[in-house]
């Protein structure tokens, strides 16, 4: 099943790149860039920490010896998650009612958590040890919130 798992991982990568290329408008390249960077700023230490504490494991990585020197998931943390956060921020319903905004958070974070949960269930790409899906869910919501708050502020400096 290693081949299938790697294929899924490669597809996630390709799909993320296509989505990024098609759905990030050129004039918003800088906005996307700063969002990407600020997500990394958070996922770097947290991603490493959860692996270091052995809460989560990524038994299969894209390349056979990736786990040898970097056991955290490069593909979730630096592709799928930043992309989700970028699109989340670009389409944030600023003018809508608070309830709608809360729902927006719950749905997007839910989508992301659902993907991870499925991957944990059916593949060897992610294994939860002491981890629970609701930890992912709440931390994703929190990180989205941080990125959104930061971006709202940073945007004022972008022409």
């Amino acid at each position: 099943m290693v081949v299938v798992d790697r294929f899924i991982l490669a597809s996630i990568l390709v799909i993320s790149i296509i989505i990024a290329w098609r759905f990030i408008p050129k004039e918003k390249a800088r906005d996307a860039f700063i969002l990407y960077l600020v997500i990394q700023f958070i996922t770097w230490p947290t991603g490493l920490l959860v692996v270091e504490m052995k809460w989560i494991e990524y038994p299969i990585q894209l390349l056979p010896d990736d786990n040898h020197d970097y056991k955290s998931s490069i593909y979730f943390e630096f592709f799928l998650f930043p992309l989700t956060a970028i699109l989340f921020n670009f389409h944030y319903p600023e003018t809508k009612k608070l309830l709608f905004q809360v729902l927006y958070y719950l749905v997007i974070a839910g989508f992301f958590t659902a993907i991870e949960f499925m991957l944990e269930r059916y593949t060897k790409l992610v294994e939860y040890h002491q981890w629970q899906w609701y930890w992912s869910y709440s931390s994703v919501i929190f990180v989205l919130f941080l990125s959104h708050t930061y971006y709202q502020w940073f945007k004022k400096g972008l022409g």
Partner: protein, 159 residues
Amino acid sequence: MQKEAWILLILWSAALIVLFRYFRKSNKRLAQMVFLCSQSIAWVYEFIQIKLHLVKFPYREFPFATDLSFSLHYMIFPTIGMLFILHYPQGTNKLRVIVHFLVFGLIIPTYSVVVERTTSLVEYLHWNWLLGFCSSLMMLVILRIVACWFQKGMVTERE
């Protein structure tokens, strides 16, 4: 505490003091963007070093999760990169620009050589000061290019 831990503690404190000062200045958005961007560049750089078995980081922050040195790419290089961009000489004096590159290009490899000789924070396998100097110049050039591109989309800040 071991001397490695002391060195990291001192470097983190120094970096945080510098960052705290610069993140409050009028061009704080640029400062933060450059800081975050340097993290990525330094991460890629370290990742390549590790993949090609050029250096080793025997004493590191996440010994199980990764072979990379976390502080180096997350705090130390980014702080220097930020200072490099924010103090980049204005005007067209070529000599000043060259001196600026040389001075900042010297910091990382020199620190690295000293640390390799005296501690177990870094261990050179196929690496030396000159390679460190050339690669750190390269990173500074990349950083400068990205910063110039990003600044084109920024409004001049006056606060």
